[in-house]
Symmetry: C5
Subunit: 156 residues, 5 copies
């Protein structure tokens, strides 16, 4: 097993240090080298992710962000997501978007817990995408969720 390089792009706007949770979980589960890139806000993430791939040799990237609850913030999140998808198409490389909307949680405590849980669960997805694609295939169509309880499969 060779060492994989994982880019972690995150923001100063977010109110939880999701990178910390993601990085610990990545290191706990694989032999990884981390490239970190912090930007001001989520709209700065797409180019940061693309540079992590093209200039800092990342095999895969996690884009961690926390859109605010305001309608204007929702549009920012939409624009950032479109850019992250385009960056993936331009590089043929996965960028796993880990966004926690500030209004998903009722309190700061809940927001922190949700953010950490989602970052950690997506860290495991990142490892599966790179090293164990067959593990993802086994979960296909089973209603997996990140940060919440899984929805589970809908049985006929």
């Amino acid at each position: 097993m060779t060492t994989i390089t994982i880019g972690i792009a995150d923001t100063t706007f977010a109110r939880v240090d999701m990178a910390e949770s993601a990085i610990s979980e990545l290191k706990r589960n694989a032999s990884v080298r981390i490239e970190r890139y912090t930007v001001p806000g989520i709209k700065d993430l797409p180019v940061a992710c693309k540079r992590l791939i093209e200039e800092r040799s990342c095999d895969i990237v996690m884009a961690l962000g926390m859109p605010g609850g305001d309608p204007k913030d929702k549009i920012c999140a939409h624009e950032a997501s479109q850019g992250i998808i385009m960056a993936q198409l331009m590089t043929n490389t996965h960028i796993i978007e880990v966004f926690v909307h500030e209004d998903e949680a009722a309190s700061d405590r809940e927001l922190a817990a949700l953010s950490e849980a989602r970052a950690m669960e997506h860290a495991l997805n990142v490892i599966k995408l790179i090293e164990k694609p067959e593990a993802l295939e086994r979960e296909a169509g089973t209603g997996q969720r990140q940060g919440y309880a899984d929805a589970g499969p809908a049985r006929p």
Copy 2:
């Protein structure tokens, strides 16, 4: 008739294993080789589809996904669809999007049935696009639907 390679990109988020239905229907109706690629969610599908085409030689791809019923999920579906269209334009290759919105069905049982039916009907479309374009031309303007009863043609 040469063997065609069909990519199947699907997600662990979906609550029904649409890939299974699609693959059986494809094999029942043509000589195909399947390349499977499972990702966490629908926003990961565009780059997976592009890689199936460019790195795993697929002649056509099916993108199977199940957006949740929440407004946020609807926006994710929109972003994924835009990315899937862009991936097609960058590769000059069809990617047949098979999305079942979780709120299209009133129960788990209905959701499973609808998902399987839609995946199977689109599997037939995939074969027609590659091997029998004249069959699609014969159905032009006839109000075909996938997973529901056909709307049929509007007669003057």
Copy 3:
């Protein structure tokens, strides 16, 4: 006058065979060669149009589609339109979008009539774009409509 090649991309989802009306009108008015490409739905049109241009040498393309009345269908139409514009920018070639929204008409009969009229009027636009640009210039700012009565110019 050399023969021009006109691509006709249409769908099996549409409930009216607009291609038939478009093709007759094109043939009645110019020396044209037709390349037909039928796909399942409007989101499959952008790549079909691009392939008509790049792989089947079309000088111009008509993209015929009929979005349903449901909000979800409206979003599909939006995505298809964005893709059709991008396909034009990637090829420097016109793709005339002829979409009839199912809810533009109150009855099947009206839907069929509107679809045929719009397809025919846009067929004439296609010929003007390729062979008689000065005819379009004469109509600039005159409130032309396709399938409805013209709005006419707003006089000061």
Copy 4:
């Protein structure tokens, strides 16, 4: 001062011949060569503008259009604007969008007056962008409007 080539892309859908106003104003204020390109509707403008730049050597382009008042027309305008921005990014060339929404005016007379005024004011912007960038810099942050009274600067 060398002659600059200015592309004028407009539509037959618009109800006012904005090109006429724009062209007179351009000629009154600079030594220009005009390349005119009329298309059916605003969604045909992006590729027309790109061709004016790449195939007819325009230094800058004005895209003149008049979206209708219907929600569907608003979406068309949005798609056209996105395409016009992309065309600029693909060519590194300005395309000044001059859109007048039909519902900006209460009467035909007002619509015509607004359209002509906006086309003329933007014609002056076009000349400044090409020949007098320092004139634009002097107006930075001063609340300029086209077709309406200027908003003026917000003083602290």
Copy 5:
């Protein structure tokens, strides 16, 4: 420390000269060369930013704009933001978007103060992105805001 070149793209539409505040703050904090590019409105910013990068050798760009409060202006802002993200992906270079929506402030005085504060705070982000990435990393997940009081971190 070598001199960095910072592009400043702004508009005549804006009602506050944010460039002035940004430039003073940049000069106060680093050895910079400024390239200024003023355009009419925010939809002209994406190509101006791209040209600042590709034709005037900017290492990073600030895009300063002030969308109006009207729904139509909100859509313009969305289109401009999408273009700015695309321009970054095409150049692998940061463009820091500094938009102040006219309706964020209750009075002209407040609008001017907010605009200046946000431009200055983002000027510091620009310097950190180029010269002190480790300073941004230290602020990751701490709820930084520009022009308003920081939201601060959400503690578990």
